[in-house]
Amino acid sequence: MPAPATLRRLTLDQYANTVRDLLGANLTLPTDLEPDTSLNGFASIGAARTAFSPRAIEQLETAALSLSQQALADPTMRAALVSCMPSAAVDDACARRVVTSFGRRAWRRPLTTDEVNRYTAVATQASTTLMDFWNGLRFAVAGILQSPHFLYREELGTPDPAAPMRRVFNGFETATRLSYFAWGTTPDDQLLTAAEAGTLASDAGLREQAERLLASPRARAATEIFFNELLHLADLDDLAKLASVYPQASTTLGASMRGETLRMLDDLAWNAAADFRDVLETRTTFLNAELAKLYGVPAPAGTGFVKATLPSDGMRLGLLGQGSFLALNAHADSTSPTRRGKFIREVLLCHAVPPPPPDVDTTLPPNTGGTGLTMRQRLEKHRALPACAACHQIMDPIGLGLENFDGVGAFRTSEVGQTIDVSGILDGVAFRDPRELAAALKNHADFTSCFTRSVFRFATGHVETTGEEPTVLAISKNVAADGYRFRSLLLALVMSPSFRVTGAPE
């Protein structure tokens, strides 16, 4: 059974991209909108579940009035929006043409006659009151931008005569789903035309449009949003590190770390020949001076990022060797093998980790300097208490394999005067150091399926149902057979039933 059909709010990124594409790139965008809420890992899932608060509706009204005012005040934007010349202050026919054409683009489908009448009447009433065509039209445009048909993606489908429990997306719904997935914005004219012509109903027609979108640089921008959410990179804006323990920390370090990770992922994801699992083992990355210093490698010239190759005999490689992952999943004044292990379990392997039980003292013995304990020794407490052991056993041993990197991501070989032991076992595969941990993870049976799940959730706005599980596994298998290429994964998802049908609304 597919998941029930739901209304999906435009996320903030989608809203911003959409109004720019509809009205013009030079708009001043509203800054006062309700934040996205990430649920089960993704804002797109939150967008399918959360309601607009009363305050959000107020904010959207203010935003729509501002956007429509800007679009009609600017000659270029106005010319793109209005294809007729008003004959007088009140020109019902010209207003009707604008409502019809702008409405189709904004609502991602043609308007019904009632709908055209409704917003033409708004324009005509306003033009009459204000004795000005353009100021009057502004209210119709503002209305179209406040309508639920604009604010929600209505991917509701129509019952499949062959299988009444399934609902098939029509051309416009398919175009909307594809465009927001691949580009993070509203369908362009070419895609709407294909939707109207009915060509998206066929495999060949859908594939042709999907390939066109995925070949565009806009797909890279949309994918960046996916990686940013998947890896919690927005949290780097607020990276709290204790300066006395980690003097490398700075107000720019978090942004540098995010910059490295996003550049590395972009480079790898859109390299047609690359195996996306290399994200764990690649030594190709992008460094600026600050990160080069943190990593102890030669600094690039200038202030920006430069493509760099990390030493081939070093312990630092792949995502797990990057500051973003290492510093985010640590404390302000120490590492946290538990957090690093939890992140790997939950985000990279899609394994569920139970929460800490209530009424358990979770304090670890403090590290008292040279005479103290290593993190591995301190975490023994987790394993000594039965209430803690069951869950920590699935997180700590993985994270301990990365103890060569301190809480801000700098390399080290000793702690409190002792040589750090970075060996461990990941689900039956022994590793001796971070390099072997990366290899074990890359070859873990759940890594590719988990990555597929994440893309699926981001794209569809829900966690896969039991009925959709075979689809996820099939995509995963096909992608493996096809050399683990990122673009193949995106394309396979678009062509899968889960992208093209939905369940009855509940």
Binding site: L39, I57, V122, T251, P505
Partner: protein, 463 residues
């Protein structure tokens, strides 16, 4: 509410003008209270209507050190514990309730306490298999329960503000937002005092003793836009399932409340009581290492107080710091995030305790701002009922027993003054929520859901 329709004869022409534009829409009037409206005792408006009662919530994350929180003495003779020392000068306005337990279950540390203490109902876990965890509320928080009864006649139904931005954003709505209307349905706090000012006292607010603003014809046009949007919402409702219908019902209600505001006639300039246009706050800048918590707290407190004085709203919630939040309390020399601190500090956690003292100092700022504004024969705090609490009892152990609860304000005489320390032996925290809702006038006979349901309130703090 007839007392609030007092208007000068000169208003008629404006009214007729507006009515003409609106095509005959009935116009309601939302006036700030005038000094002339209070009776000679100052306890009620002239004409007999009571001074409004207000409800508020002050919430902080990660609990307290219980041994330094609970005052030793009970009853009216209580004296501040070390944690409550900052409230010493406001002690008469504060009651302490200790020893109560959250009885909606402790399904997940922090989450369960948040939901229990703010709504008296169990949390909803959203752990679909192997995806990232999320949780939400099952029922509205008490600010929204109150707002449905006492918040519908003011320009704003309720006001939500936040102070520290370092909240958890990745585990669902529970940890991220305080005020909820229902599951996955929240009222996000505003962290920028400038934006709060603009919303409350910007366009649409008519300051006392000002010249009446000219009627803006675009207000009626905005209403016609919203009518069209409402028709779209109604169309769409026919095509969707029950869950989405709930979302769209709220969408419609929200549109209607904007329409009401648009068609509510701007009031004539009043002769000022305590209501006046406050000074616009300056921009507050946080740095990566230091959040400007005290500055934001002061600005937000003053805005809430003036919003009450001008009767722009009667309900607020303030998320001072987040549940599991990573606020760095640099003001008391803490260098790590608050949640980390509660789990990592050794011994009896003196630093954690210091963050609680600091938090109570900020709560005192809020209470002092309300107390400073006269209303009737007393002050605003006399007419407030404020809940102050957290997401756990002790953050270290995620306990939800012996919960830290403060009640502030007299609620127009419904709550004990001077305040008391009521030491319970394990009663349900929902009893306090029940008391607060009763104190602001809700005619309830029970409150809460499942383990949080109670049929008796906490009479020890009531008059």
């Amino acid at each position: 509410m007839t007392n609030r329709r007092v208007m000068k004869p000169t208003m008629l022409s404006r009214r007729h003008l507006l009515r003409g534009v609106m095509g005959g829409t009935v116009i309601a009037i939302g006036l700030p209270p005038l000094e002339a409206m209070f009776n000679s005792h100052g306890t009620a408006y002239a004409g007999g209507a009571q001074i409004p009662k207000r409800l508020g919530i002050f919430f902080w994350g990660n609990g307290v050190k219980v041994d330094r929180w609970v005052p030793a003495a009970t009853g009216a003779a209580w004296t501040p514990s070390p944690a409550l020392e900052p409230l010493a000068t406001l002690k008469d306005y504060v009651s302490v309730v200790s020893g109560m337990n959250i009885k909606t279950g402790n399904e997940r540390g922090h989450h369960a306490g948040c939901v229990g203490i703010l709504s008296g109902a169990p949390m909803v876990s959203q752990p679909p298999g192997n995806a990232g965890y999320a949780s939400t509320f099952s029922k509205p928080t008490i600010d929204q329960v109150a707002a449905a009864a006492i918040g519908t006649g003011t320009r704003f139904r309720s006001l939500e503000v936040g102070v520290s931005r370092r909240v958890v954003t990745g585990e669902g709505t529970t940890l991220r937002y305080l005020s909820h209307n229902g599951p996955d349905n929240f009222n996000a706090p505003e962290y920028d005092p400038v934006k709060v000012f603009d919303r409350l006292f910007g366009t649409g607010f008519v300051p006392p003793t000002s010249t009446p603003p000219p009627v803006d014809p675009t207000l009626a046009l905005r209403k016609s836009v919203l009518d069209a949007v409402s028709a779209d919402v109604a169309d769409l409702k026919n095509r969707i399932g029950a869950t989405d219908r709930t979302r769209l019902d709220q969408h419609l209600t929200s549109i209607r409340s904007i329409e009401n505001r648009l068609t509510t006639m701007p009031p004539p300039p009043p002769t000022a009581g305590s209501c006046k246009l406050p000074t616009k706050p300056g921009a507050i800048t946080d740095t990566s290492s230091k959040e400007a918590i005290e500055e934001r707290m002061k600005a937000m407190s003053d805005l809430i107080a003036m919003a009450f004085a001008c009767d722009q709203t009667r309900v607020f919630s303030m998320m001072f710091s987040g549940s599991v939040g990573s606020t760095v309390f640099w003001q008391v020399n803490v260098t790590s995030g608050h949640h980390d601190l509660t789990h990592n500090e050794a011994g009896n956690q003196p630093q954690v305790h210091e963050t609680t003292v600091f938090t109570m100092k900020q709560f005192a700022t809020l209470l002092a701002a309300l107390k400073a504004i006269p209303e009737g024969a007393g002050n605003l705090l006399d007419n407030c009922a404020i809940l102050a609490s957290s997401d756990v009892s002790d953050g270290l152990a995620h306990s939800i027993n012996n919960y830290p609860i403060l009640i502030a304000g007299k609620a127009g005489g419904a709550l004990k003054y001077p305040g008391v320390h009521y030491k319970s032996s394990g009663e349900n925290t929902s009893m306090v929520l029940f008391s607060l809702l009763k104190a602001v006038g809700l005619p309830l006979t029970e409150f809460g859901t499942a383990g949080g349901r109670v049929t008796t309130s906490c009479t020890a703090i009531e008059v």
